[in-house]
Symmetry: C2
Subunit: 381 residues, 2 copies
């Protein structure tokens, strides 16, 4: 790990960032210049002035998105500031291009105020075909996303929420097959009630999982618990119908699925052992999971996934976000709906022909992932 840290720093220094903005048109002759710059460029301008939609024909809008952050929740590093988030935004943009052929521009906003974030994104929206929100902390991220979805006519997607939820659902679809359980008969415990936890809970419910318990740093969330914020209050009405109280230890007893999007080492072998037979454990805190795979295994887990590339079953958003935007842009969708998200998860799950305990999700470099996800998204756009 120490070597990796040094290598990462020197690689970033060597390349001076990860992105280039390049011309895809020839600009080598006077004729090229007169076609793509003055006077020729006036023609597409005039056409777009007459009919806005033609921007998708004559400009890069239709294949270009903004990757927007305020730097308030960067990786597991927390609120390190917007500029310090830029290496992640550039990495994300590079992955968008590499995996989905989507052109992505990092935008680090110099504000962490909800209204200013919304206003800034609305002001820069015209030149983009979509907005990927990134590393904005909860609960602010919920309002930012909700408002932008309502107020813009291009798709807005907070990847930390929905990318994570979709790839998690894809893995669960296959994990349930491995342990031969039905989606409407299982109890799921989600450790972490931030951006990812909330989105996972919502998407699993939409998909048909009925018994879900969210756990935050103060324990299980239930209706009428004191001091809940608005979004948690709302979720408290939809989850944990039996109002089970207590910490992870109490709620994992008799559960079928454990999903961790919280902190390293919050779960123990004993807690996993208290789950039902055929337990599914997705410990996705990164780089250190909620429980180490060998401890989860010792506790009797049947299927184990993490966020890491050095264990089987890596739950990695890169399996989802490039294809989601590729599909949404190609379909010129104005929104990314729950149907599109579930279709994406199902398409991703299907890429594993025969799911096994060690293979519930395709690897990051599995061929055709973005294409399969994009195709599913377009079908429901």
């Amino acid at each position: 790990m120490k070597n990796l840290k040094k290598a990462a720093l020197s690689a970033h220094k060597k390349y001076k960032g990860k992105l280039n903005v390049v011309s895809k048109v020839p600009l080598k002759t006077v004729k090229d210049m007169s076609l793509f710059y003055t006077p020729g460029v006036a023609e597409p301008c005039k056409e777009i002035a007459k009919k806005k939609e033609l921007a998708y024909e004559y400009t890069s809008k239709g294949h270009t998105i903004a990757v927007v952050t305020d730097g308030s929740a960067v990786l597991g590093l927390g609120n390190i500031g917007t500029l310090a988030g830029l290496p992640v935004m550039e990495g994300k943009a590079a992955l968008f291009k590499e995996f989905g052929n989507v052109d992505a521009v990092p935008i680090c906003l110099d504000t962490q105020d909800t209204e200013e974030i919304i206003e800034a994104v609305k002001l820069i929206a015209p030149s983009f075909g979509g907005i990927n929100l990134e590393d904005i902390s909860a609960p602010r991220c919920f309002e930012v996303e909700e408002r932008l979805i309502k107020e813009l006519d291009i798709p807005v997607f907070h990847d930390d929420q929905h990318g994570t939820a979709i790839v998690c659902l894809a893995g669960l679809i296959n994990a349930l097959k491995v342990v031969k359980k039905k989606k409407d008969k299982v109890r799921t415990v989600i450790s972490g009630a931030g951006a990812a936890g909330m989105a996972i809970a919502k998407l699993l419910m939409k998909y048909g999982l009925k018994d879900i318990i969210l756990v935050d740093s103060r324990g299980s969330i239930y209706d009428k618990r004191q001091g809940l914020n608005d979004i948690k209050k709302k979720m408290a009405k939809l989850t944990n119908r039996k109002k089970i109280k207590g910490g992870l230890k109490e709620v994992l007893d008799g559960a079928d699925i454990f999903i961790g999007v919280s902190q390293p080492n919050v779960a123990t072998k004993e807690m996993i052992a208290s789950m039902n037979d055929g337990a599914i454990v997705f410990a996705m805190s990164n780089p250190d999971p909620e429980i180490r795979p060998k401890d989860a295994k010792a506790g009797g887990a049947a299927v184990i996934a993490t966020g890491r590339s050095d264990y089987p079953n890596q739950i990695n958003n890169v399996l989802v976000f490039p294809g989601i935007f590729k599909g949404a842009l190609e379909a010129r969708a104005s929104k990314i709906t729950d149907k599109m998200k579930i279709a994406a998860a199902e398409a991703l799950a299907k890429l594993v022909k025969t799911p096994t305990a060690n293979k519930v999700i395709p690897g990051v470099f599995h061929k055709g992932v973005a294409e399969a996800v994009a195709k599913a998204v377009k079908k429901f756009a």
Copy 2:
């Protein structure tokens, strides 16, 4: 021209815009991913969080600028709206890369309100090393630029003002050599008191031209003329000391230099004939100049320049803006000063070894232009 229009439309359609955002780092293996994305990417993030300046080492900030418009003064098309300006912004960005190896991102702002433009640019500034303002109408552009220069720590440059002024000055430096006149002895008439006209007047004065008369649609600008806006009031005190009144016809009588940044066909052969011997005529309205070269010649002009590529002496901003930002970024300048602008003009002029009436400015594809301009800019940064 009709063929060019059709060709320009179909070329824009074929390429679907002019830009791609590409990764310059390898992302082909698990190791690549762990260096440039999680977990390795956390390291440059942490370094930048400790020391902001390191963004220039570890990210693309140091070679990336935003090309920002509000669509209020696009080419000669006027206020066609921000999205309709996108083909021009993309063209500009493509030229930045092609000629200056500067990575440029088009940002079309969904507002034409001065305060909102300023606010939006400030909010998106962190991920950029510079801001090129583009096609924002006068007089709003003056306040937008002035405020942003003051409030941001990265260079802000309104190309329609200063790019035009610098390339114009470069051409004049050589034209004065051709007609053997001294900069402090000539009278200059500038037709057009918008963004370009104002900036040209200011830069020529800084360079040492003493007798300048600005002309707007209501005639010559002079101190105490009724109904002048703030910027014109200010310029009225610095120009036209003899308070010559009237239209172009009146003020061109006895002038040495005519600079047109206004409307097609506002000048006549007779007006040019009324200028002093060795008249210099830069008729830069595009695509149709203030006077056709053959009429200017018939009127006795000694040196004629236009904005067009099909006549000698094309006064084209592309000779300036890529090098200006290349130099400013390489020097990590926080501002682009008048000294840097004059140095850029002088360096550009010097590229023409032996100026003649038909060669006062290098051609657009002259080798090493951006490098020479950048070098001069860096020297004074």
